[in-house]
Each structure stands twice: as C-alpha cells, then as structure tokens.
Symmetry: C2
Subunit: 153 residues, 2 copies
Amino acid sequence: MRIGELADVSGVPSKTIRYYEQAGLIPEPPRTSSGYRDYPDEATTRLTFIRDAQHAGLTLAEIRGILALRDSGQAPCDHVGDLIQQHLAEINRRMAELRKTRTALRELAQRAAETDPASCTDTDICRIISTPNRHRDERTSGWPGHSTASASR
Amino acid sequence: MRIGELADVSGVPSKTIRYYEQAGLIPEPPRTSSGYRDYPDEATTRLTFIRDAQHAGLTLAEIRGILALRDSGQAPCDHVGDLIQQHLAEINRRMAELRKTRTALRELAQRAAETDPASCTDTDICRIISTPNRHRDERTSGWPGHSTASASR
DNA sequence: TTAGACCTTCCAGTGCACTGGAAGGTCAAG
DNA sequence: CTTGACCTTCCAGTGCACTGGAAGGTCTAA
C-alpha cells in the first residue's frame, strides 16, 4: 500500500504519516524500487491506535512510549512492566478528570433544563454566551457568584 | 487574594493566570488602588476546573465555551442546551477513546506478565524499548509482525 | 530610606503537532 | 511523448498554550 492509499483508508494525511515516521511513531516502511513507501496492512491499525490515543488526550511522546512497549514484545523486563503500569495510572487519572468535567457539565444541563427556555427569546444573549470577553469594560466584575463554599483540594 | 497567592494555592503560575484572563477563561478581577489584581476565593475553583478539564484533554477553547455556558446561568435558551449536549457527547467520545487505549495497554501488561522477567537481564534492551528510532539503519524494516489479521473499522 | 519581594504591561520565544509549498522524480492513460 | 496524479525531500510557517525577560511601579521590614 502506498502512502496515499494509507492516508485514504486511515484518514490520516500523507504529510502527517511521514511526520509520524520521522517522529518515531511508525517504523520506516520498505520502499518500492522507485523509492515510494510501501506499507503493510498493519499500518492502518497502528494509525488508528495513534489517533484514538491522541483524541483521548495523550501526547505523541506518550503514544510513542506505548507503541515502543508494544513493539518490544519479547523483552518485558520488570522495567517495562513498570512503564505499562505508569501509563495505565496516567490513563486512569485522565479518565477521572474527564468524569469530573462531565459531572460539571451535567449539573449545567440540569440547571439549563430547570429554567424556562421561553425566557430567552433574544438571540443576542446566546451570542454573548458563546463568545465571552468580546465586549470589555462592562460595569460588573464578571465573577459568577454561584455557591462555591470555599476552595477544595 | 493577589495573583501570587492564587498561583500558590491553585498551582497555576501567575503568568498563566494572566494568560487565561487575556484568553477569556477567567474574568478580569477587580484591582486594588495600586492596580494589583485582587481575586475572590472562587478563582481557585475555576482554575482547578480549567486544569482538570485540560488534563482530561479539552482545549482552552472548549473549556472557555463550557465556562461561558456556566457563567451565563440565567439564560439557558435551547441553543445553550444544545451546546451542553455537544460538549457532553465530545467528552463521552474522548472517554471511549481513553478506554480503547487502556484496553490496549492492559493487553500489553498481560503479555508482559506472561513472559519470564528473568529472560531480560540486559538493561540495554530496555533502553532500546523506551527510546525507539534513536538508532537508525537497522537491518529489519521494523514493522512488528504480531497478529493484526487485516484492518478493522 | 533602601533592599527585596511582589506586582504591572508588553513583546518575543518555545515546544508540540502538524501543514504548506517548492523543486523534482515516477508512472499509467491518452 | 506528454499530461496529470502521485510520490520524494527539505524547509518554512501555523496555532495552541504557555513562558521568559525587560522595564518599571508598589509595599513591607530593617
């Protein structure tokens, strides 16, 4: 498979695929006689994994580490086991943070549901909501006063 | 509370706090007579939320949107409800991706546990594992051959 | 009153993850 | 044999999220 086809099936641009190679995320593929990159089918799986992990918020450096671990396959010394555990802990940490954010958002949805939607007829208000601080020097300080009884953590 | 204290209690550098203000993530606080920023206690909660959401993989633009929604408080028109639902969907998407990554990592841990740790005595091998492609022009193409029976998705 | 810690604005630089474009080689169809 | 799509390398630029540093004002403690 040449780079363009891989780009099509994986949804990752050719440019980005070359960049990933250069960044050590995917190994250098064999070349055709004319110098074109010639990818095996597994390449799509790998790119899919990279994109999944990335959308989940992992950096390329972290993903590179995970992939390297995975590629090593035959040499899982204690150190590698530790690394895997570290990555798992990191992922669990991130999921916890995502859950917190989701909870905050659900509370918001709750508040929104409880207020009468009919009370908003002017589209300008919504525009203000979606783009804050576009209209400076308001009279108010802007700090929301909703119950935040002293800081946690 | 002045910016330095807020930085200390929240763990977010003063520079970054000013940057968040300029970026519309936190409102402009009142100033002391000498022009120093004077933050209310809620500021720490807000910074904590920003950091949580960020560690979860949300961009500042997304977080800004969520905070703006939250600040609006009293004007939840249908449009705002939609936005909340969009953000929730996005977060669920990200959590699904995080779960996929975690599953991949757990399989890895499984493989590592099944192989004899005593088979690895040389620290060099581990060093190779943690920093791939630092040693180019190897004889192998580098593509791992482990069972990836045709691409999914 | 002066040292030192803290604050202000402004502007420039950094690292990550791409992304665009130039300049040129390859290949199948017309 | 030429057109056009595809590929190659290399280098430069972009957007995001900071981060550092200059130049200067403020405040407390010795």
